[in-house]
Subunit: 400 residues, 2 copies
DNA sequence: GGATATAGTTAAGGAGTCTTACTAGAGGCG
DNA sequence: CGCCTCTAGTAAGACTCCTTAACTATATCC
């Protein structure tokens, strides 16, 4: 959880080695109220006092401070069965904004969301950049446009998160293992973007963010430990444990592309055997001809083409091996399949489950992604939002 | 982290949804000082004030309260270069005790440690119990003896942790997957022990505890994410992430016995292929004869016996597959090999590393266990200590 | 012996919370 | 309609705990 480029102020929140003086006490209580409001949507002061255990005067005073700082605002009224009318308070979504960026081989997706998580502007553009420099420029330019289009000022964007293939190496300031983006491993690329945008920028692996996206907005909600397997041009896995991203020692957790795979001739890695291209290859081996893409093979299988069907079966078996490895090591309660094959998961589920039954007694629930192509972007937004909320909260006292 | 049998009071410490009233403020500061003393060994009041950022009067008053509660005591003096002599304070190790229990197929090991982590009594007895009931009785009896031998009263033992093969199912109150202990899967066994002992009892997987032991007292210290692979009668893995046990959704993380393993004929699980018995089997297949044990094969290999050497090589290759799977999924910075093969890791390291090099570009550091057979027991103690410290601290105000 | 530096205490003041008591407003009911 | 009851919210003072500042105690250095 320490691979962010710019150190966000969020750390101040739960540092156990800090003295707890009165100011900190007040701050903690304000935070408690804000989080509670966020969870409940809106609430009256009396209600908050009951729920948090704080006294009514304390709630009133803390809430007044939050309103003063612009983090909270009145949001209508509520009349109880009998008794006086209550004034409701709610978090002010426009207290700050978060930026999410999904850099994929085919598409670049950028969105701005307010603190409530509502997307207020979004842009999807084709990634036609030939060089890493051009791609970086495209990212910065598009981000500026999206922010402008959202009607917010750049200073209001408190935090940004970028999703990219590969693993960001914090020390060397570059991405490793980004096979499918030429030149993307250059050092300092993200520093440049951060500088040109003027927004704290955090870089994460795309599969990890997709997992977090699916956890926050999709089918993973409430799971204690779930794994998101992203099958597309490459192969990746993101793991969310107790609501937090599980990144491993160097941010490389879930790089299941490197799982050993028992090939017929020699050991090769799983990525060669499971990624989108492999489906095409095996379909060809089974006798399909013509200009094939993974999508074409799946479409053919859906119409009953025998070679395509067998290729899909084989792909399912391969994915099952991935799931089996993840299940044995991680013990997830949910496995989500997503990525390029997202539209074809219906075809894959049966062979995956059948193979899994033969492989291992551990059989976690396997479901298709709900967010599809948007998982990475939404995950980036969710992550950026988390930090943005902290940043905006920390800022409140110094600004006013 | 929620598979403990008795809910420890530790949860009160960092519940973010609790109001932060004045009492809590004081409590947090006392805890801060206590933890700091624990880390430093001993310190003067002025020193603590400097390090924590609290004022001198606050430190004095909080420390007086801690001393009153028996958690802290004077521990000599220290004379600075110049200036008045300082009175040093240190945590009182005898403020409470923790009990660690390692239930293995061959041995039962039980130890009591004081709050400083010092083992004050220990007993290792052969596990000759034929039934699960007899084993439970043996555990309770031996535990009572050890506690008596340590010169402490049972009420002073604040928490106990048991390590056992298999996964403890909190809901059904029984152990699952404990293949090698007959009848050990019976429900309510641990509830009985807890009741008869009168100590809060927490149950964990033995490989998990071994990992925690190696993290706390062995070679894993400071690792961000490390995996402990326990190879013995069975096969297990424990994962420690950021100092905390990684248990998965149902406490089954690291059950790599269930990893699919490409057998020659049909898919079988890895446990069959890697556990101690497998070494014997393959040695026999390579032509060794006689009454073989895993230890005998390793000894023969050490003396150059060709069949034994080949069997060990094969074992190394198999372990490498395990490591490769763990590395791809978890991205550890350290992998520790331990368990029954602990004494033979020197023979295995080379083949493991060589095979790994061919399998995957990810190559985490691989080292042998430092604690050997004691890893599980020490891990249980370390875990129990963590909770015991919390319990004793929480108790302080109500007792006095 | 005085200057200086460190350890620790005492006294005064301040910040934030709690308790208690009150006012404000909305129905129910005789 | 007036009164009662119930809920929301405010006001005032007590209480707790922290901090600052000043002070005492004790050691070394010159």
């Amino acid at each position: 959880m320490r691979e962010n480029g710019a150190m966000p102020a969020s750390d101040a929140v739960d540092q156990p080695d800090q003295p707890w003086n009165r100011r900190r006490l007040r701050s903690t209580n304000e935070r408690l109220l804000l989080d509670r409001l966020r969870a409940a949507g809106s609430a009256s002061r009396a209600q908050l006092a009951r729920e948090t255990g704080l006294s009514k005067p304390t709630v009133s005073s803390a809430l007044a401070a939050l309103e003063e700082a612009g983090l909270v605002r009145e949001a209508g009224t509520h009349t109880p069965e009998r008794g006086r009318m209550a004034v409701l308070y709610a978090p002010d979504p426009s207290a700050g904004y978060a930026l999410g960026i999904d850099i994929g081989r085919g598409w670049l997706r950028i969105a701005v969301a307010d603190l409530a998580g509502e997307v207020v502007a979004r842009s999807d553009v084709r990634n036609r950049a030939r060089t890493s420099g051009a791609l970086a420029d495209l990212v910065v330019g598009t981000a500026r446009q999206v922010i402008a289009g959202s009607g917010t000022r750049i200073e209001e964007v408190a935090h940004a998160v970028v999703g990219t293939p590969g693993v960001y190496d914090e020390e060397r300031r570059r991405v490793r293992y980004a096979m499918h983006l030429p030149g993307w491993g250059r050092a300092g690329l993200f520093d440049r973007m951060r500088e040109e945008l003027g927004i704290p920028l955090e870089v994460h692996n795309d599969a990890n963010l997709a997992a977090l996206g699916e956890y926050s907005y999709g089918v993973g909600t409430g799971s204690r430990l779930f794994a998101y397997i992203l099958i597309g041009t490459g192969l990746g896995m993101g793991v969310v444990s107790e609501g937090r991203l599980f990144t491993g020692a160097h941010g490389g957790a879930g790089e299941i592309g490197f799982l050993p795979w028992p090939g017929r001739q020699k050991p090769q890695t799983l990525e060669d055997a499971v990624s989108g291209l492999a489906v095409v290859e095996s379909a060809r081996a089974f006798g399909m001809t013509g200009q094939l893409t993974a999508k074409a093979v799946f479409d053919a299988a859906r119409e009953g083409h025998p070679a395509a069907t067998r290729a899909v079966e084989l792909e399912g078996e391969r994915i099952a091996h991935t799931v089996a490895a993840a299940a044995a090591v991680l013990d997830p309660d949910l496995v989500v399949l997503g990525g390029g094959v997202g539209h074809s998961v219906d075809l894959l589920l049966r062979p995956v489950r059948e193979t899994l039954r033969a492989l291992t007694p551990l059989r976690p629930k396997i479901v298709p992604s709900r967010l599809g192509e948007d998982a990475v972007l939404l995950g980036a937004l969710a992550t950026a939002l988390g930090t943005a909320r902290d940043v905006v909260f920390e800022r409140r006292s110094t600004v006013s």
